[in-house]
Symmetry: C2
Subunit: 197 residues, 2 copies
């Protein structure tokens, strides 16, 4: 008995990650009842993003141009290529202001449980980019989760086979971290990877 | 450095209830990367819902018609008017298949902390509906939360002043409930509101 356009909106909201039937319903009521303006804005933003956003041909991140502004910036060190999982990771590294090379964004990670293997991640595109003659070192900056580590391992193997220098972000005790409150896995890694002074 | 259409999508997603900056970012990446079809469908559903949905002139629920199909159904008992907070509550009561009267959907509840008083809830519309001559009893079926109870109390006062018979859903031990696992507030209410057999 409820209007079909309402049912369809509730159903369509479920394409959002982590949104089940109950929250989809809550969101629909909220938008229609309290924030029609926000809903209209969201519909426009979504349509526009779908129209204009594509993947940068060089670094694979979301871009409105064929090649994104970062990749064509001549003041960046084209010899360094930092591989991250998602644009959010790229943004974090940029915020450190301690990296001036280029990036490659995987837009995901190797995740066998979700059916994401090297082919689904289109690692060919990264390998072509890394071997285009300009890159002297690939820095693997995938997450230190199981899936991120597996991705880094896969990439390290593939890149080494092509004779490319590969490095990985260091693991260890976080800056400001107290040993008493650091997990033992991290401390163990920090011991193994200790650096001489 | 990130494309403005992506930023705008992330910002626009924050109009959804319970969605902060991090989840908005995650949702945007998910839609663009993994579910462009779902995103397109959502944009269409949202625009259409905004265009065609309005509030039923009689029961105030979302409707595509001026008066919703339920309110014009001649097989419903027009003498009973059940007041609920949201369309989801109406759906629950319908599922019981034990009510054949009509409804009034408040689309909210009295909530002083959120600045929602009798005026914001447009209780005038309900009072006009309840006094249109067809209603012989108003059943208050707002939630048994603090806000729902306050709403019921406000409504009971306003309706009684207009000489309308008012009732409230009973409180008590849930069907299938064991006393050992029922909260004492509910048991206390079930004692006070015990019914003679």
């Amino acid at each position: 008995m409820s209007p079909s356009s309402l049912d369809e909106l509730i159903e369509a909201l479920r394409c959002l990650p982590g949104v089940g039937p109950k929250s989809a319903q809550r969101m629909a009521y909220h938008l229609l009842q309290r924030d029609q303006r926000g809903a209209a804005r969201l519909a426009v933003a979504m349509r526009r993003a779908l129209e204009v956003l594509r993947h940068c041909e060089r670094c694979n991140t979301f871009s409105e141009d064929a090649i994104c502004p970062r990749c064509v910036n001549p003041r960046r060190d084209a010899g360094l290529l930092c591989v991250v999982e998602m644009p959010a990771d790229l943004a974090m590294i940029e915020q450190t202001q301690s990296y001036n090379g280029l990036y490659y964004v995987l837009m995901g990670r190797v995740s066998p449980l979700d059916g994401v293997g090297p082919r689904e991640l289109k690692l060919d595109k990264l390998l072509a980019r890394a071997t285009d003659g300009s890159v002297r070192e690939v820095i693997l900056a995938t997450n230190f989760t199981n899936e991120g580590e597996a991705t880094a391992h896969t990439l390290a193997t593939l890149l080494a086979a092509r004779g490319i220098a590969v490095s990985r972000l260091s693991r260890g005790v976080p800056v400001g971290g107290e040993l008493e409150h650091t997990d033992i896995g991290t401390i163990a890694q920090a011991l193994v990877e200790r650096r001489s002074l």
